[in-house]
């Protein structure tokens, strides 16, 4: 089976001379949730724009389920759904009309049952006859999603889906995305909320300054870059480390009340046992201890900084 999305050497230089993408290669497999992570201006929206037909590429090729997006644009676009970052809707249309319009626009015949199902799933059913202009911001975003799903796409792009969205809607969206994946839809979401990628994605790609600097399984990524921290809450505050312990890379925080030890989960030995033994022989006693895994956010910040 060909990849749901296959990108080779994708390059985009805008008329202003700004190069948003510098030879991007990427494959996304059918049925996976892929998160494209990167700071503002990294090229995420440009990449989506090219695949969906909003931006002309300067160079490179893109295939969607094996078909070229330029040559076979009818085939590829009819199976792509896009929820853009910004909410733009026809203010004077009813929810029902605008969602049905999208279905027709993407070449599908009327199917009131499908539209009804969508509106119910997105808690929009009781607003179906309401004009878009009368809806709240969160509701408008739901309408954008309903429009993108109206033609039953197989590849869904969510560009910053939860930027400025309340907690409830965010939870609903995550729920919905998982439901879609269960029906075989491939989902590509861009975000700069690490939490979102961590929560949702199977694989994560990190893009920075127009280049994909890493693509990896979320779990593997967490493990590869995952550092753990051991924090010890001391009984008596410490102003400086005893000589023997200084070499271990310990940090004193919280005005001497805590000791922090970082270690690599991949390492052969973590050094925890030895550390604890040394502390005890130095007469440092502790009241409590905890270990913490570094989040994707820490990993991400490290990666982007390394590149800068």
């Amino acid at each position: 089976m060909p990849p749901a999305l296959s990108i080779r050497n994708l390059t985009k230089t805008y008329a202003s001379g700004f190069t948003a993408l510098k030879g991007v290669d990427l494959d996304v497999q059918p049925g996976e949730i892929f998160a494209l992570l990167g700071p503002n201006g990294a090229g995420k929206t440009t990449l989506i724009g090219i695949v969906c037909g909003l931006v002309n590429a300067s160079d490179g090729v893109v295939h969607v389920h094996g078909d070229d997006i330029v040559v076979d644009y009818r085939k590829t676009r009819s199976i792509i759904g896009l929820v853009p970052q910004e909410v733009s809707l026809d203010a004077f249309e009813s929810v029902w009309a605008t969602v049905s319009y999208s279905r027709g626009l993407f070449g599908k015949g009327r199917n009131p049952a499908h539209v009804e199902g969508l509106l119910r799933a997105l808690s929009l059913w009781d607003k179906k006859d309401e004009k878009v202009i009368n809806l709240s911001g969160g509701m408008k975003r739901r309408v954008m999603i309903a429009k993108a799903l109206a033609h039953e796409p197989k590849l869904l792009f969510l560009d910053e889906p939860t930027a400025g969205v309340d907690v409830e809607l965010r939870r609903d969206m995550w729920e919905m995305v998982r439901g879609l994946r269960a029906t075989g839809v491939t989902i590509i979401l861009t975000t700069h909320y690490i939490e979102e990628a961590e929560e949702m994605a199977d694989r994560i790609g990190v893009i920075s300054k127009g280049e994909i600097i890493l693509v990896e399984d979320k779990a593997a990524l967490m493990q590869r870059f995952g550092k753990k921290k051991l924090e010890l809450e001391l009984v008596e505050p410490l102003s400086e480390l005893p000589a023997g312990l200084a070499a271990r890379g310990l940090e004193i925080t919280d005005a001497g009340r805590r000791l922090v030890y970082s270690y690599d989960t991949q390492g052969e030995r973590t050094g925890i046992t030895a550390l604890l033994a040394e502390l005890s022989s130095a007469g440092i006693r502790f009241r409590d201890l905890e270990t913490r895994q570094s989040s994707l956010e820490d990993i991400f910040v490290d990666l982007v900084r390394e590149r800068a």
Partner: protein, 253 residues
């Protein structure tokens, strides 16, 4: 051919028209009636017949043409400019639809609306003057060709415009003067010879002349020249539109 998409856009655009049906129809009816009262009754009663018909009947084709031109341009330019302005154009650009289908749907809807209003004005005119239509087939042909060509022209303006002001400037500064100077209210041979020659550079002259021929059977320029000029304008507009879409001009980055 993505039939569903063309239908979706066309229906959407027509729904927009019907939402504002009162102002869409009443305002041309009122303004046409005013023209008849002022030019047809007040001034026309002092003018001899022109080309064998009363002045009131003489200006009917010109008035319809003038409305067709301005309405086609405003309908079509607004129809494509507004989605660009609000951002909803993203959906059309990402849809599995060819440029030809986009133009067909938007321009088709704009032209339909102009033709509907053209016919309403014609019906209004029938209340004021004794109408005769000698060549009904040619009348309909000119009606359709003019509505389509100028809707295309409006579509071009709508894509080109990057502000509401630009949307107004061409209709106001170019089309209106050309329409008034295009023989709507007079026959070209009423002008001094120099101005008759200059008028031949005005494309509206050919439209009005050909359209008037289909009503009263006489015209300033040959009806075939009129038809050829109308088709020529249509082809030029088609050329510009296809260039715009090929290059993504002001639509795609």
């Amino acid at each position: 051919m993505n039939f569903h998409a063309v239908k979706a856009i066309y229906t959407f655009e027509m729904a927009r028209t019907f939402r504002t049906i009162m102002q869409s129809i009443i305002s041309p009816v009122v303004s046409t009636s005013l023209y008849f009262v002022v030019f047809g009754a007040a001034i026309g009663s002092r003018i001899e017949t022109i080309d064998g018909v009363s002045y009131g009947a003489f200006i009917v084709p010109g008035l319809i043409m003038m409305s067709l031109l301005t309405l086609s341009i405003s309908n079509a330019s607004f129809g494509i400019y507004f989605p660009k302005f609000t951002g909803t154009i993203y959906e059309v650009l990402s849809a599995p639809i060819s440029y030809f289908e986009i133009v067909l749907a938007y321009v088709g809807a704009a032209a339909t609306k102009s033709m509907m209003i053209g016919l309403v004005i014609l019906a209004t005119a029938a209340f004021f003057v004794d109408l005769q239509i000698q060549h009904p087939f040619m009348m309909v042909l000119f009606l359709v060709l003019t509505s389509v060509s100028f809707s295309l022209f409006g579509f071009i303006i709508g894509i080109w415009a990057d502000g509401f002001e630009k949307l107004q400037i061409i209709p106001l500064l170019i089309v209106m003067p050309l329409a008034f100077l295009g023989g709507t209210f007079y026959s070209l041979d009423m002008l001094p010879p120099v101005w008759q020659t200059i008028s031949l550079a005005n494309p509206v002259v050919y439209l009005v002349s050909g359209f008037r021929w289909s009503f009263i059977g006489t015209s300033d320029v040959s009806v075939w020249v009129s038809l050829a000029m109308t088709l020529f304008f249509l082809v030029i507009c088609l050329g510009i539109v296809s260039w715009m879409f090929r290059t993504g001009y002001r639509l795609k980055k």
